[in-house]
Amino acid sequence: MSLDVREAAEVTTPPRPRRELTTAFVVSRIAVLAVAAAILLYAVPPLVAAESWISLTLLLVASAVIGYLYLTRRFVPAKYLVPGTVFLIAFQVFPVLYTVSTAFTNFGDGHRGDKAAAISAIETGSVRQAPGSPEYGLSAALKGDSLVFLLVDPKTKQVQEGSPDGLAAVQGARLGVTGKVLEAPGYTVLKAPEAAARAKQIAELAVPTQGGLIKANGLSRAVEGRATLTYDAVCDCVKGGGDTWTADESQGYFVNAKGEHLAQGWQVNVGFANFARVLTDPTLSAHFLGMFTWNMAFALLSVLTTFALGMGVALALHHPKMRGTRFYRIALILPYAMPAFAMLLVWRDLFNRDFGLINQLFGLDVDWMGGMVSAKFAVILVNLWLGFPYMFLVTTGALQAIPRELTEAASIDGAPPWYAFRKVTLPLLLVALTPLLISSFAFNFNNYNAIALTTDGGPFPAESPTVGGTDLLISYTVRLAFGTGSAQFGLAATMSVFIFAIVATISAITFRRTRKQEDVYA
């Protein structure tokens, strides 16, 4: 009711003045519409080809909404919100949902595709050449409009026509020196480029024989073979070689009576199996507490040490009597400007016991990466070196915002510098920096690079080859899920969900406490 009244009232008000048509306004509008149109044009053909109608509908709806929004004069706030929201959904929400849904599947090596792909791979892989059959010389030819094979037996030089109807003798064919058919009455022999252009048809043509099928093997040879394993839709099983493998939809494999399975599997929903596996994995449950404690310690120490050093340096450079600050600032940013990947590898080699610079420089013989305590110390040290310039930068920024009068006033009141810092500067800094410290904690909690590129989780005690002394939950997850060669995306997704839950809980608690702190200081 009230809505009607307002609309009625609006009609009577004079029309709003036309908005100013600035360049920025036009450019932004064209840009958004162009991006939407470009994505549409770019994505539609592959989506149609893949027959993914749901994605296509979503794309069309999203594009229609964007077009409608930007072609009308209304919905001004939405014009600003929509691009961000679209990208938020595409790059944040969707990956999270995808990860969570993957956590309930056995997606990974051996279970990448669907069942149809597995069946076709099983059948193709089991094709054996029919015993005693020749390797035919192949020429593709046209008989009228249909493609046929001209097959030459290499020994007898006899030529036969192979078509979907079977084999038939060919008379009067002329062979070249290499045994290929040059010409044959009634056929148009295809030259290499013409045959290559029809490669797909050639691959699809199968000539039935008593021993199996003759199929092209490349463009110049054909082989008679038979699939030793065949899928039977009636029993939903694969038969062959005197054995039967029945489809087991709970594990995505064809399994025989002995419990053995064929190599090729498919992706299935496994319910909470991955979650159960993470929770009941004996190595994980035995070492979880130790690993979690170290993970917390690593994240906390990384934040505290980098913050302490970064802030210390920032305070020193902030001092009015400091000279040459520009030079120092450039020098201090260097570690931050270097690619962390390369630096981590360099540090790993610096810590090498026999060849590393650190031992050679100080005349030590410490097996840095080989000892439980020294490896932990080393990774924190490396992380400190990589991380403090960031803290230095943000503290410098926050310090500029704190008026010098405050500390001056404190010193006039007789407060010693340390006391003034503790009671005035630090609390003000913390109000500004706590969110950054929390995000730095969350980042370091999952700082896979820092571990993987230095110790790779090691040192590993002989008793537990899977859980190393410096393993974080994330580096352990990666090892558990990907090992050295095979990928288990489902399990990895499950572990990610657990880690996400842990980090989210910790962050939520800390943010809540921070808000209380802000109330105190604000």
Binding site: T22, A24, F25, V27, S28, A31, V32, V35, I39, Y42, P46, A49, Y80, P83, D109, G110, R112, A117, A121, I122, G125, V127, Q129, E135, L142, K191, P193, E194, A195, A196, A197, R198, A199, Q201, I202, N217, G218, L219, R221, A263, Q264, R277, N352, R353, D354, F355, G356, D367, D456, G458, F460, P461, A462, P465, T466, R479, G483, T484, G485, S486
Partner: protein
């Protein structure tokens, strides 16, 4: 208002740029038929694609190019050789799964098990004549479940590379290697007894000849002579004894094996003359030759009274992608073209690993004796297990190796490794 609008435009442009970059790879190869030149008059009506896409690592891309182009001209098709620089196996699997993979990929034979279980490659039908042209071990390596899955072209295995100035005589046993190394170290002529990469996490590949010579084994064998994933022997009594042997030459013993020796520093240390013996493969030779060290290559010798030291033999091969767009062309290229000795020779020139074709190997041997020596050193070797279960072995085995080298209890290390492997194979 103006500034904000500009910001939106800028953000949108940046984001678009990002998506365009991220997504460009799939489409460019997903629709090859549209851009391929139509070959021949009759081709215009066909939907067949006249384009062959080959993925290879940086070393091989350059060598393959001229031959790919020649194949293209002969068959009237375009051949694109694309360089994949990292994680080739997983990149290939992911791409072929989503339909944007190549028609042919080049890789190591131990990928086969994993590629087959993911339905990513097709068998390659070689004629008996073609099969006979390969060295038997190369052919065995690419055979999986009784089926040939790739055309092999190069082989590699580790050997003992010796600094002939420091150690003029080829050692008869591995005990001699260690004795000589220790003697040289004592005399201050070298820094290390032996350069064999152990690394902090172990390296099963390099240490395997020693492990097998000391009696250890990874898998039992099936009746067909293939490694049997149901019999993991890493924790067996024999393997425990082998780990014990590794411990005696480890850091607390002879110090011939050290975790501080890594893949990064072992070759330069040998090339710098700080080490008389190096256990490495053909890939080390570029650095060794450049350094000017006088060297000789022999097989890794067995321990005194030990079993033969069998290195792992790795074979590089061409695979036909089962989800490729031009499978016929791919089969033609793999079975009838790269099995040619000239192609093998050219690939050798680009990246000196001994060719798998006997004829090409003979040609290469004449020009470069090192290739022949490496092949001889690998004569008693076994192909690296290609079964997918092998991926569960590398890491636990390596960690057990590193642990015993550092002085942990060999029995406990072997048993823990076995337990870990059993645990991951069951799942």
């Amino acid at each position: 208002m103006r500034i904000r609008a500009l910001g939106v435009a800028a953000a949108a442009t940046v984001a678009f740029g990002a998506t365009a970059c991220g997504g460009s790879a799939p489409t460019s190869s997903a629709a090859p038929s549209s851009s391929a030149p139509s070959a021949g008059a009759s081709a215009t009506a066909d939907k067949g694609s006249g384009k062959l896409v080959i993925w290879a690592d940086p070393n091989r891309t350059k060598a393959l190019k001229p031959f790919a182009d020649q194949f293209g001209t002969e068959n009237g098709v375009t051949v694109e050789v694309k360089e994949i620089s990292k994680d080739n196996q997983q990149t290939f699997l992911t791409a072929s799964q989503q339909g944007s993979g190549p028609d042919i990929t080049v890789g190591a034979h131990d990928w086969i098990g994993n590629l087959v279980q993911n339905g990513a490659i097709d068998p390659v039908n070689l004629t008996e004549e073609q099969k006979a042209a390969f060295s038997p071990i190369a052919l065995k390596a690419v055979t999986f479940n009784g089926q040939v899955y790739g055309a092999p072209y190069a082989m590699e295995n580790v050997a003992l590379i010796r600094n002939t100035k420091l150690a003029p005589d080829a050692p008869a046993t591995f005990d001699d290697v260690i004795a000589k190394g220790k003697e040289l170290k004592k005399a201050g002529k070298v820094k290390e007894v032996l350069c064999l990469p152990v690394t902090a996490k172990g390296d099963a590949y390099h240490v395997y000849p020693l492990f097998s010579s000391a009696g250890g084994a990874i898998f039992g064998t099936t009746s067909a002579g293939d490694p049997d994933p149901k019999q993991v022997l890493v924790g067996s009594k024999e393997s425990q004894a082998a780990f014990e042997k590794l411990a005696t030459i480890g850091e607390k013993g002879d110090a011939a094996l050290k975790t501080s020796l890594t893949n990064e520093n072992s070759i330069p240390t040998f090339a710098g003359g700080k080490c008389a013996f190096l256990v490495s493969g053909p890939w080390a030779m570029a650095d060794v030759k450049k350094s000017g060290v006088a060297y000789d290559i022999t097989a890794v010798p067995a321990f005194k009274d030990g079993k033969p030291a069998t290195p792992f033999v790795g074979v590089q091969a061409f695979f036909v992608a089962s989800k490729g767009a031009s499978k016929t062309l791919a089969q033609e290229f793999v079975t009838n073209y790269v099995t040619n000795a000239d192609v093998a020779k050219a690939l050798y020139d680009a990246d000196p690993r001994p060719p798998a074709l006997t004829a090409a190997l003979d040609a290469v041997k004449a020009a470069d004796p090192d290739a022949g020596k490496f092949i001889e050193a690998g004569a008693g070797g076994i192909p690296m297990p290609a079964i997918p279960e092998m991926s569960a072995i590398w890491e636990p085995f390596g960690i057990a190796e590193a642990a015993v080298v550092k002085g942990s209890d060999p029995v406990k290390a072997a048993e823990s490794a076995q337990k870990t492997i059993d645990g991951s194979l069951k799942n």
